[in-house]
């Protein structure tokens, strides 16, 4: 082991001026040399904190150790022991707040680039042939998983490895959920998603596309028709709007629509693909989360001359990953802090011609702990834009709840479920991911899918807690 300090290896990226006009992946991935050098930085801690920071408990030091020893196959097997979707996680996980935040090196220098190494190993495996791991003998039990997004795919993959028969029902014509419709190609290439979905399928998971549960079948019908358990992983797909005048003008998109057209339907390849998309000359994107970054960077790539992010709080409160926010700024996205839209202005043809905004100042902290933006009276001004994209967040889609008596929901539309097991108030129905938490991250949804799979497995084998629901108060008393 070399004693001299090795610096954290930078990830090669496309230059901003180049990438802002193409849809190819921005981060290019480590070379072999970079990966091996970075792997040497890992101290191989006996009690690795990084693993504690990972929602799916990836065996981080072990896979990095195998990589360092150039045992690539073993590194991949170790990685996939806990993570069914590593090439995805290596690209879109917020490692800086999870595994890498716990890295011992982070106390003195920069943490090991765990995410980049994960990506390297996963990409190596994809290029060198994916191996299907051994599975438990068939249990004879069947589980229905609703939604083929991060939570559902993770849950399905684990359940298949536990030996259960798994059918995933997906409403769209392609599996992947937000990985397909939400996250753009330049951040997460769709062939990467397709390959990892294929891996889940190779574990024996059956995928049924174009099945809208809640319409074609209810949760109760699935249970009556022979499924022993149901996992709800339908995410948070219902877009929110501001409720301001002019929001239904032509040229106002929800980020969901704009991104779905572009990513899932590949509108950026129109007319090779049939789905059209509009892009304004000057585009305003309202919000500053990861979805707002994706939407604004997509608008640039589609040819917008100017893209403005309009955010009612300040830089310190930006909810997007730092890296994505920096990427957006580097590419030329103009950010307006402490600015809140009050009206979308239209022309005589019903098209957007401007966005009326009001300046804000920060007041006392609100329920989220962030300082609340307070409008400054008389500070209204008009932004000259011809397209507005609302990226204000999403809520769970209520459709799955049709005819599902017994499923309890919160006033935010999320489903009530036990945090550790994913059990809902309805017996034999589990839930995890954004449908429980509201819009969150890919990896937190995967963690929930994984925990639910473990509990489903135990429950179906007659192990673990066979008392379906224990009120939190009762748990505390016991």
């Amino acid at each position: 082991m070399p004693k001299e300090r090795i610096p954290r290896q930078e990830m090669p990226r496309q230059a901003p001026e180049e990438r802002r006009r193409n849809f190819e992946e921005v981060a290019l991935g480590y070379t072999l040399e970079q990966a091996l050098t970075e792997a040497q930085r890992c101290l191989q801690c006996k009690k690795p904190q990084c693993v504690e920071g990972c929602p799916v408990q990836v065996r981080i030091p072990e896979f990095i150790g195998a990589l360092r020893d150039k045992e690539f196959r073993r590194a991949a097997d170790l990685l996939k022991d806990k993570n069914n979707l590593p090439a995805i996680c290596g690209r879109v996980c917020p490692q800086e707040t999870q595994c890498e935040a716990r890295c011992v090196l982070a106390r003195k220098e920069e943490p090991v680039a765990i995410g980049r190494l994960e990506r390297f190993v996963a990409d190596w495996e994809r290029q060198n042939g994916v191996r299907v791991p051994p599975k438990a003998p068939p249990s004879g039990k069947r589980v229905a998983v609703i939604g083929a997004g991060p939570a559902g795919l993770t849950c399905a993959g684990d359940l298949a490895r536990y030996g259960h028969g798994v059918t995933v029902f997906e409403a769209l014509h392609a599996p992947g959920g937000v990985l397909m419709y939400g996250i753009p190609e330049f951040r997460l290439p769709k062939d990467v998603v397709e390959a990892e979905v294929e891996y889940v399928r190779s574990l024996g998971v059956e995928l049924r596309l174009n099945w809208v549960i809640g319409k074609i079948k209810s949760v109760h019908e699935l249970l009556e028709e022979g499924f022993d358990a149901v996992f709800l992983g339908t995410g948070a797909g219902l877009p929110m709007f501001m409720g301001i005048p002019g929001e239904n003008l032509s040229g106002v998109y929800s980020a969901n629509e704009f991104l779905t057209r572009n990513n899932l339907m590949k509108a950026y390849l129109f007319p090779e693909y049939d789905t059209p998309i509009k892009v304004g000359r000057k585009v305003a994107v309202v919000g500053a989360g990861n979805v707002a970054m994706d939407a604004s960077r997509t608008a640039l790539r589609l040819g917008a001359e100017e893209v403005h992010i309009v955010y009612r709080r300040s830089r310190a409160e930006v909810p997007a990953r730092k890296e994505e926010f920096e990427n957006a700024e580097e590419e030329g996205v103009i950010v307006h802090f402490l600015t809140n839209p009050v009206e979308v202005l239209g022309n005589e043809k019903g098209w957007v011609r401007g966005l009326r905004c009001q300046r804000q100042e920060l007041g006392e902290p609100d329920a989220s702990g962030r300082r609340r933006p307070v409008p400054i009276p008389g500070s209204e001004f008009d932004m000259d834009v011809d397209m507005v994209i609302m990226a204000l967040g999403t809520r769970p889609n209520p459709m799955v709840f049709t005819q599902s008596a017994g499923l309890e929901r919160t006033r935010h539309g999320t489903v009530v479920a036990d945090e550790n097991t994913g059990r809902t108030k309805l017996e034999r129905v589990w839930a995890g991911g954004d449908i429980v938490t509201g819009a969150a991250t890919v990896i937190s949804a995967m963690g929930a899918g994984k925990r639910a799979a473990a509990d489903i497995d135990a429950y179906l084998r007659g192990e673990g807690n066979q008392v379906w629901w224990v009120e939190p108060a009762a748990t505390a008393a016991s």
């Binding site: 409403a171 419709y181 099945w211 319409k215 797909g237 409720g243 779905t260 007319p271 059209p276």
Partner: protein, 283 residues
């Protein structure tokens, strides 16, 4: 993949396809729609369900060839397959015994009005129907509509068949005649539904329309289909497709239907260029 099991050319530009989709057929109800993708690189388009056969496991779609996607769909025949077929989506029609009801279908809108009229008839209503089209060639299912209606009026704009009138003319006459019409259903082009609603408004007869806005996912995810009804924003895909015609902001609906007009023209021109034989089928 979803196999096409039958096809019928109802008019030069109006085609009927029967699709094998047993689970959808099993749950389909009047008023609902499906989202289809014709071929792999295609767009998702909503089509209202014209009929379904639970025993045969099939769903019938009727469409008019207007743009690239529907033109391509019009080239499909039994033995071909659709890339995607999702449904049944949207809320079903509220069927009950209202007494006397009026069902109005315009152009390709005759197709989705048929299962509604049939269900209303089965529920015990006295069903008066009006079907109309620009010209004789665009009319279809007169016999089927007659079979589920107590009275049927047929109109064409140009007088080439039936009565020379817009559907709103007999609508107004029926409402004025003292027929105790309790509810009206109108499905057709937005402009027709707007005027049917305007005609019925003074008579204070609730008028249900089925809106055909632009959609992508059809499950409440994107908001492309949003409309204003009674001053509130609603999603056609999950809150509709049926709404109270007296409450719909028609001008907004029609503006939003035109968003991709340029792209639609471009796609169609490209399709015709690549598929010269398809042009030949047009009249």
């Amino acid at each position: 993949m979803y196999p096409i099991v039958a096809r019928q050319d109802l008019a030069p530009v109006t085609k009927l396809l029967v699709i094998e989709a047993p689970e959808v057929a099993c749950k389909a109800q009047p008023g609902q729609f499906v989202i289809i993708i014709v071929e792999e690189h295609g767009e998702r388009i909503p089509l209202t369900i014209a009929d379904y056969d639970r025993r045969a496991g099939t769903v019938t779609l009727i469409f008019q060839e207007v743009g690239k996607t529907t033109r391509l769909l019009g080239t499909k025949k039994p033995g071909d397959e659709l890339f995607a077929f999702t449904g049944p989506l949207g809320l079903p029609t509220e069927i009950e015994n209202y007494g006397t009801v009026l069902c109005i279908g315009g152009g390709v809108g005759i197709a989705p009005v048929f299962p509604i009229a049939r269900a209303l008839k089965e529920a015990g209503n006295r069903v008066i129907s009006i079907i109309g089209a620009r010209t004789k060639d665009l009319l279809f299912w007169e016999d089927r509509m007659r079979g589920v209606s107590d009275e049927l009026v047929v109109t064409t704009d140009d007088g080439s068949y039936g009565r020379k009138a817009l559907v709103t003319v007999p609508e107004k006459e029926i409402l004025e005649s003292g027929e105790p019409v309790k509810r009206i259903w109108a499905i057709g082009p937005a402009i027709m539904m707007k005027f049917v609603s305007l005609t019925s408004r003074p008579f204070e007869v609730k008028t249900i329309v089925s809106l055909n806005s632009i959609m992508v996912d059809g499950t409440g995810m994107c908001g492309a289909c949003r409309v204003e009804v009674g001053g509130k924003t609603r999603f056609v895909c999950v809150d509709g497709p049926e709404f109270d015609g007296h409450e719909v902001n028609w001008d907004l609906l029609m503006e939003r239907q035109r968003i991709y007009l340029d792209e639609e023209k471009r796609a169609l021109a490209r399709f015709e260029e690549m598929c010269p034989s398809c042009r030949g089928e047009q009249h």
